[in-house]
């Protein structure tokens, strides 16, 4: 599991995740993910390169989203694969966080 951080215009931060967001992957990125979530208000989480998502990965995402929300910000999920998106919709995460497949749409969501 790899995590890289991209800074876009207008204070938007993009977290790029790649690999398996399983229990091992979640442990690997938890600290970095929470640091970004605790310090940024407009956060796009790019899931396009995430090949697997399990409940511990959802936990990481929800912890971050809660922290961002407490700071008055928003998180959006970008470009999950069909299997990963099914995990998100099955668990109702799509009702808590927007899931979009286009970067411009993602920027729009966090900038509103």
């Amino acid at each position: 599991m790899e995590l890289t951080i991209e800074t876009l215009d207008d204070g938007v931060t993009k977290i790029n995740l790649a690999g398996r967001l399983d229990i091992v992957g979640a442990q690997k990125i938890d600290l970095q993910f929470s640091v970004v979530s605790g310090s940024q208000r407009k956060v796009i989480v790019d899931l396009g390169q995430v090949s697997f998502l399990a409940s511990m990965g959802i936990r990481t995402i929800i912890m971050g989203a809660k922290a961002i929300n407490l700071n008055g910000g928003r998180m959006v999920l970008l470009g999950p694969t069909p299997d990963v998106e099914k995990v998100l919709t099955t668990t109702g995460i799509d009702t808590l966080l927007s899931i979009v497949h286009d970067l411009d749409a993602a920027i729009g969501v966090v900038s509103n």
Binding site: I62, M75, T90
Partner: protein, 173 residues
């Protein structure tokens, strides 16, 4: 042919489980979405067993922490089993998690979604308790069939030998 793998009840074993499942997936030409579902159920089951399966403090004797996984192509299904020697636990007895609709709701849980995922990604899920063994039997689509849509009924569960259901196991996840 039944393929089997024995691991310890530790989350660090998951990498070995994934590699094994990937190998079987290629050998049996399992559709990618089915392999995803199988790995998801193995992860949720094994992490649950590792974190909560041996919490019964009254049982102080050394316990068997082997977890035996099997995968078997059977007609148009892949049948998988997970057996452990932990405390009796029927995942079908656990209610679906609450699903608040706004992230600002303090009731949004961090965890507790594992069983729900297993129920939704397996076509069927059956639990048995025999002697000191929990046995989960799951089936998945094979031969190009789509994974069953959410909302269908799961098969009836049975508790044997007077085993006690333990719901506390999932509350801390």
């Amino acid at each position: 042919m039944v393929e089997a793998l024995v691991v310890q009840a530790e989350t660090s074993e998951l990498t070995r489980v994934y590699d094994w499942a990937e190998t079987l997936g290629r050998r049996f030409d399992v559709p990618q979405s089915t392999l995803f579902a199988i790995q998801l159920c193995f992860e949720e089951a094994l992490s649950n067993i590792a974190r909560f399966g041996f919490a019964d403090v009254e049982n102080e004797v050394p316990r068997n922490t082997d977890v035996r996984l099997t995968v078997e192509p059977r007609g148009d299904q892949i049948v998988a089993t997970i057996e452990d020697h932990g405390d009796a636990f029927d995942p079908l007895g656990v209610a679906a998690p609450a699903q608040p609709t706004v992230i600002s709701d303090s009731d949004v849980p961090l965890g507790g979604r594992g069983i729900h995922l297993m129920r939704q990604f397996a076509q069927s899920l059956r639990y048995e308790r025999r002697e000191d063994i929990n046995r989960l039997t799951l089936s998945f689509a094979y031969r190009g069939q789509a994974v069953a849509p959410p909302g269908r009924a799961v098969s009836t569960s049975h508790l044997r030998d007077g085993a006690q259901r333990r719901t506390k196991r999932w509350r801390a996840s």
